[in-house]
């Protein structure tokens, strides 16, 4: 890769929260700009160029127009990095994937639904183009984003955990949600967030997606044993995991 790689940041269906995390790097931003040249970043700059080495993609893919634009980005970039849950795992956009599409459109657009093109399923970026790396989370963790950028500039493989959030809860000596009579999906969710939600006394909702080899059967059994109905269990899993579940079933 050239001495100072060119980077571009693009957004699709999402809340731009991950881009905001990058903009919020504040005192580290100048150091970051010493190692990459940002040529496109709609949220914070007006300039744009199609000449870039690394493309960061936020948001999920929901229509043909998105897919075409993504393919152009893939052609331009050497490395494509999906950032944030919508891009990496479909995110909360894919809650609707198991719902009736006409009802969804009606709920959002009322009687103007026909004016908007939209697939009946929101998809992760790697459902449409090849993705080289993923920065997980809703939103992304700024330090992990920097770790990925540094690794790519140095030509190293980024180190993204493939173990459950339980690891980080143990390291932080958190009282387990299950011991507080609460239920979380931490045992099947990819760590890397430092268990930030549980550290604050809540639960893990699964925003970083399933680990590569989750023991979902065991976790569903456990949730039911702890008194959740099958519907409640499915709800726990559908906040963030819908797209991944479908992709796994298709395999």
């Amino acid at each position: 890769m050239s001495k100072k790689p060119k980077a571009a940041i693009f957004d699709f269906a999402g809340c731009e929260g991950d881009e905001l995390q990058i903009a919020n790097l504040e005192e580290q931003l100048l150091d970051l700009l010493n190692i990459v040249e940002v040529v496109s970043f709609r949220e914070v700059m007006t300039e744009h160029s199609d000449d870039y080495d690394i493309a960061f993609i936020e948001g999920s893919v929901t229509r043909d127009h998105d897919a075409e634009r993504l393919k152009r980005i893939r052609d331009n970039a050497d490395i494509v990095v999906a950032i944030g849950a919508c891009a990496t795992i479909g995110g909360i956009n894919s809650i609707r994937n198991t719902q009736d599409h006409e009802e969804v459109k009606q709920r959002v657009y009322g009687d103007k639904g026909d004016m908007f093109e939209s697939w009946d399923k929101a998809k992760a970026v790697d459902a449409v183009i090849d993705v080289d790396y993923k920065v997980h989370g809703c939103p992304i963790d700024r330090d992990e984003f920097l770790h990925v950028v540094k690794s790519l500039v140095m030509g190293k493989e980024p180190n993204i955990p493939d173990y459950p959030v339980c690891v980080e809860c143990k390291l932080n000596e958190n009282v387990c949600a299950f011991e507080r009579d609460e239920f979380c999906v931490g045992p099947v969710t990819r760590a890397g967030c430092d268990a930030c939600c549980v550290n604050e006394g809540t639960i893990c909702w699964g925003c970083r997606g399933l680990i590569d080899n989750p023991n979902e059967d065991a976790h569903m059994e456990v949730l039911e044993e702890y008194g959740l109905t099958p519907e409640e269990v499915m709800k726990k899993f559908s906040l963030y995991f819908n797209w991944q579940e479908e992709a796994r079933e298709d395999e």
């Binding site: 540094k150 690891v167 390291l171 000596e173 387990c176 065991a218 059994e221």
Partner: protein, 345 residues
Amino acid sequence: MKIIDKEDLDSFVADMIEKGEKEVVGVQEKGHKYAFQELKRAEDLRLDYDVTMLPPKKYFMPQREDLLEYEKDEDLSLEGVNEVVPRIIIGIHPYDLIAIEQMDRVFSDTYEDEHYLKKRKESVLIGVNMQEVSEWSFAASMGTATTDYGYDLMLTDLGDRYAIEIGSSKGSDLLERYCVDLKEAKSEDIESVEREKEKIKESFEKEFEFSPESLPWLMEQGYEKKEFWEEHAEDCYSCGSCNLVCPTCYCFDVQDISDLSLGGGKRTRKWDGCLLESFAVVASGENFREERSERYRHRYMRKGKYLYDMFGDIACVGCGRCSSHCVPDIADPTVVFNELMEEVR
């Protein structure tokens, strides 16, 4: 043996905190559980706890620690980093003291790990005999419900007063420095302490149905029982919780973390666990323990045989943390080892 009134023990602890010559750590409530944490007020100390979430090992081998800093200009310069905070740790149960003894061996046997050893050397350990027993613990089976070694001072609750056994000059120095009102123990105090210790040994609900001394033999026999391990590991999350809360697990992962200039950075280590899927992955991508059941079995092999073969210790002290933290409840060593014994017999 010395005797101290309970209120005098409070002022002993308060004095150590106030003088601040070493950081004072004690068992405190965290949520409805317990944890070793820095003690700011003597009254927060809970010597009547059952078990802490993490063992006190974290003060000698922190969850995450920096090993060295590097800077790369024309040459590479390296500087070792070892953040040592001298500490007085109050309220360690016997099983944890015995686990620390084992860790002392692990970190000095073939290689002197100065990050562990310096922290360990700068610490004073004040033990306490159990007043509450965790429902998951089986320390009596492991011979770790009480101990005659491993502490600098050892406390036993005798109602309105504590008995103090002295284990080292580190301990007696502490008494001299901070404690004003000590009495010599009378023969009935010494008998009371012995009675308390006997009582503790009878307080465990969980137990081994055989002597733990035969664990190395059992594990050798049980290694090939593939179906047994597959069945027991079926609900395993591979979350490593059993490893991470264990007082005798010591595996770590080393990583270099570059700073944003890309010219320098630091080398760090972080706790790792053999139940995690990526634990035995090597550079070529090969995973030496790919199956859940292989990783699950490996932990029991370590506890019951491998570490015994290396150091002569059964590497389980019966604290019950692994089973109490296991959400699908498949990590209870008394269940696994007892059932394996049935299978092998």
